[in-house]
């Protein structure tokens, strides 16, 4: 049913339909509306979850780990500083192969302190071993939660996942969202059937330590699971259409790429602006297109290769910066490497950090810079401040 709602509330509605047994979260701007709405649902009996008001994000994810290991479906949400605080636990949860699903309302990281949007937080955790989905709009935010639980809990996968969406831009704005009914969700996402759990009837030791004789193989198995996750996400994404009418059978979206001789690559809400800019530029005769990344981990290398090989110029919009790196952004090098075609010029543009607005004029400006061969830069600097 189509309803106008705030992005955060779309998350809460989706989570409610997923029926987690335990919710453990700590408030942080701009995720607060999610956890507040969930608390209301629990208080009114609309959601039968154990809701733990933890004392920090570190404890939030630790409690999720415990509950998951005891056999429960669990959920948490965070942003920015909170995600960095729980970074140690993120690696731990992934290594212990617990299928925790966590919403990330993407927010810049301090210092300097900023409550506004960029994607530095989740990108900083790209090595942690969680799959990462990036939503363009509120509908995707909602849909991705069903998809994420389904893939995370697949006994052949057993990986935790982030659903990333731009803080404030998507969390605090209102859009029409189709929220499915409970029966449809149950048909798509059956109750969690855990593998090794804490159970006095079948005792196991979880989280033992691995000597050098074993550690490498555990990490390899983890990476193999992430490889399988790429197919699992596509399969679950295709199956999504049968139940809900929308298809997520690919880890990327190609927009007006058929005859493009220039491509933008981006993730998240900025893609809406990019698509609008592309339409205008197409009217001006420029053959531009967009490859939108839906899944950053696992990285869709084959799709990237197929979509971008032979495109002379690629401009990657980066809402993150890897200080000291050659291309500045973290996504660009992976795009370049996936294309692996020396005939393609790939440039990263660090934009929109700390919530700086990205407009069509900037998208067009980046085209100009890329065509001049000027890339791997911060774009949109206020020169008068420097």
């Amino acid at each position: 049913m189509l309803r106008i709602m705030e992005g955060s509330h779309a998350v809460a509605e989706a989570v409610k339909l997923c029926r987690p047994d335990v919710i453990s979260a700590y408030p942080i701007t701009p995720q607060t509306h999610i956890v507040e709405r969930l608390a209301e649902m629990v208080a009114d009996g609309d959601l039968e979850s154990e809701y733990i008001c933890v004392e920090s994000e570190f404890s939030a994810l630790s409690a999720c780990l415990g509950a998951s290991a005891a056999g429960s479906r669990v959920y948490s949400a965070t942003s920015s500083q909170g995600l960095l605080l729980m970074a140690e636990v993120c690696f731990n949860v992934a290594g212990m192969r617990q299928p925790v699903v966590m919403s990330i309302a993407n927010r810049a990281v301090g210092a300097p302190l900023s409550i506004w949007n960029d994607q530095q937080d989740s990108i900083a955790l790209r090595d942690a071993g969680w799959f990462q989905l990036y939503a363009e709009d509120a509908q995707e935010i909602s849909d991705f939660h069903f998809l994420a639980f389904k893939v995370a809990e697949d006994n052949n996968i057993l990986l935790p996942g982030f659903i990333c969406f731009d803080g404030f831009i998507l969390s605090h704005t209102y859009e029409p969202v189709d929220i499915p009914d409970q029966e449809s969700v149950l048909a798509y996402l059956p109750p969690y059937k855990p593998v090794n759990i804490l159970d006095a009837n079948d005792p196991m030791s979880l989280g033992m330590y691995a000597t050098p004789d074993y550690y490498l193989e555990f990490r390899y198995e983890h990476d193999q699971a992430m490889k399988r996750a790429a197919d699992a996400l596509c399969k679950a994404g295709s199956e999504f259409e049968e139940h809900f009418g929308r298809n997520y059978g690919s880890l990327i979206e190609e927009y007006r790429m058929d005859d493009a001789d220039f491509a933008y690559v981006a993730m998240g809400s900025v893609c809406g602006t990019v698509k609008d800019a592309i339409d205008e530029m197409r009217d001006d005769g420029k053959k531009v297109g967009l490859v939108r990344i839906l899944s950053y981990r696992p990285f869709p290398e084959a799709d990237m290769h197929r979509a971008l090989s032979g495109i002379p110029v690629v401009a990657v919009l980066e809402k993150n910066v890897s200080i000291g790196s050659r291309m500045k952004g973290a996504v660009g090098p992976e795009v370049k490497d996936a294309i692996a075609d020396s005939g393609v010029a790939v440039y990263s543009y660090v934009v929109g950090l700390g919530g700086r607005d990205i407009r069509k004029i900037h998208i067009r400006g980046i085209y100009e810079e890329a065509m001049k061969g000027n890339g791997n830069i911060f774009y949109g600097l206020r020169e008068e401040l420097l």
């Binding site: 617990q98 005792p203 196991m204 555990f218």
Partner: protein, 85 residues
């Protein structure tokens, strides 16, 4: 041998590790002096002293020879002797 997901294991495997090989001194039990109080069994950090029939018998494949049983036995019925290798 395949890895157990998430670095997990079922009980029992620690018994593969025969810590008796660590020993320098070995507890010798004198059952003529033993009063069956059970103190040795209760305080062994390895839990390797077992009551079999009426006697408390150490499992020497695990006994590390720490000497706690000998030190605490109220009947002084346990003596630590240097093990011949």
């Amino acid at each position: 041998m395949s890895l157990n997901i998430g670095c997990a294991a079922r009980p029992g495997r620690s018994q593969d590790n025969k810590t008796g090989s660590w020993r320098v001194f070995k507890p010798e039990f004198h059952y003529d002096l033993c009063t069956n109080c059970g103190t040795c069994q209760l305080l062994c950090p390895e839990g390797c002293i077992h009551k079999i029939d009426d006697n408390y018998i150490p499992d020497y494949s695990f006994c590390k020879g720490c000497g706690m049983c000998a030190e605490q036995c109220p009947a002084e019925a346990i003596v630590m002797i240097q093990e011949e290798k």
